[in-house]
């Protein structure tokens, strides 16, 4: 190939989008196996109450995330159960995501996965497959953890490619291969198809992504509403979402199981305050506001109750969120028995506009409310720098005598929810 042709081939390759998706295999369980070699090769469960993560040895025996632990132990009595510590797992992901940031500034991270936009970096880093192989080897060297890497022309295909490479592999699906690659995959793997939709599609004899293509756009929107448009595009391998795009989540929730079931109103309301405060901090970090506050309770007999209250206007202030959550909690907790779990969910989220409808009487009733945005801003900055546990405020002071604490805040029983 002459130099001119090579240059034009190179510039064509550079203009094609390449997204890398990285997923840490059996994350929490793998960290526990790294920390204690005696656990390697054994079925390991991390979680409290339900499985948050389990090792591949446990998965081979039929265990899955979300399964109640007592049920899992009946299937696999030899499994080792660890409660897990999210603050340890976060240190591992910090290290891994920092390595991803050396590849591209466009990166989007989640609990145990990340998307990296490698578009246009080929001349700098070399071919995308080699980047994936190198990243996987570097992560293994630095942390001992196994990751799966998927490469594709968009986020969705990259993630599906990564799933096909599990555990510990690298798989690239090029633009021309997308059709053939995704057509044979189960429709359940398509983003937007959960358990309920999968059951519905099964009844329509649609089992693979290729089967779904037989349904036209009108048919899909008739069944799934606006999501039908998304499914129509996704089953054809189209996904235009950019990496690092600020997405408004549908809901933001924080919940935890108590270390011991409790009926102490101070402890329950203190935990509710703490969870609301943590959710509120995330709300402000994402730059969104919530219009609805929902509370969820679980009794010792595993019966759940939940309910929510819609606010007059969207807010990201802890005090307003907590007052609403507290009022709802008091209406929900009607049985005179202890609680096993408490949770708060903020829904109907929208981007914060920076403009807030002022309350005519707020300054008269509560003059200090004027300074609250500044107070939250200061608290958030302190906690970002020194950890959430640097400031213990309000009703969560009640938890000081009952829960252990570190720089990240109280150590809750459910590790994945202490995030």
């Amino acid at each position: 190939m002459d130099a001119g042709k090579r240059d034009s081939a190179m510039s064509l390759a550079m203009s094609l989008p390449v997204i890398l998706h990285l997923d840490i295999d059996a994350f929490f369980a793998s960290v526990e196996q790294q920390k204690d070699p005696r656990l390697r090769g054994r079925p390991v469960i991390v979680g409290a109450g339900v499985i948050a993560s389990c090792s591949y040895e446990a998965r081979a025996q039929g265990l899955r995330a979300g399964m109640p632990i007592h049920h899992a132990l009946r299937i696999c009595p030899g499994a080792v159960v660890m409660e897990g510590r999210h603050e340890v797992y976060r240190c591992f992901t910090d290290c891994i995501f920092e390595m991803c940031r050396t590849l591209s500034p466009a990166i989007e991270t989640y609990l145990d996965e990340a998307y990296v936009d490698l578009t246009g970096t080929e001349r700098l880093h070399g071919p995308a497959e080699a980047v994936g192989q190198r990243l996987r080897a570097d992560i293994r060297e630095a942390t001992g953890l196994s990751v799966s890497v998927g490469l594709g022309p968009n986020r969705m295909v990259a993630k599906l490619a990564g799933k096909a490479a599990k555990p510990g592999g690298v798989r690239r699906v090029r633009e021309a291969e997308v059709d053939a690659f995704i057509a044979g995959l189960p429709v359940r793997q398509l983003p937007g198809v959960g358990r309920v939709r999968n059951a519905l599609l099964s009844r329509l004899n649609i089992h693979s992504i290729g089967d779904l293509r037989a349904v036209d756009r009108r048919g899909l929107t008739a069944v799934f509403g606006a999501d039908g448009h998304l499914l129509y595009d996704r089953c054809r391998g189209r996904d235009t979402r950019a990496v690092n795009e600020t997405e408004v989540p549908r809901t933001l929730s924080r919940e935890t199981t108590f270390h011991r079931e409790t009926a102490d109103p101070d402890e329950i309301e203190g935990m509710l305050y703490y969870l609301t405060e943590r959710a509120g901090r995330t709300l402000r970090r994402l730059g969104v506001q919530a219009r609805r506050v929902e509370v969820r309770l679980r009794y010792p007999d595993h019966k759940n109750v939940s309910g929510g209250t819609t606010l007059a206007a969207p807010t990201d202030r802890d005090s307003e969120l907590f007052d609403t959550a507290l009022a709802r909690y008091r209406r929900l907790h009607t049985r005179r028995v202890s609680l096993r779990l408490v949770g708060v969910a903020l829904t109907r989220l929208s981007l914060a506009t920076g403009v807030r409808q002022p309350d005519l009487f707020e300054a008269e009733v509560c003059p200090e409310a004027r300074g609250r945005p500044g107070l939250y801003d200061a608290l958030d900055r302190i906690r970002t720098r020194y950890g959430h546990g640097a400031v213990v405020a309000g009703r969560s002071l009640e938890l000081l005598n009952t829960l252990r604490r570190d720089d990240f805040g109280y150590i809750l029983r459910a590790p994945s929810l202490t995030k």
């Binding site: 960290v31 790294q34 920390k35 005696r38 656990l39 976060r90 240190c91 290290c95 942390t143 020194y386």
Partner: protein, 83 residues
Amino acid sequence: MQVVEIHEPVKVRADFLGGRITPLFLKRNERVHPLVRVNARWVDRSGRQSRHYFSVTDKAGDVYQIVLRGEDMVWMLENVTVP
């Protein structure tokens, strides 16, 4: 497996060669535990100073989690995992 929380200062002899910290001996209650393996290491950078955590196995096969606190350069024994 049971994790026994300890959280007490301990003496650790470590190698700092090439900027990489490798704990070699752990002294607790006047007893020296030669460390035969570093199972995992991670750094917590969330505070003002970094904290370097290590999971180590001693000659007897016990697994300890130790931390070198950046703020005062004190080694702490965080916990020990017993079978």
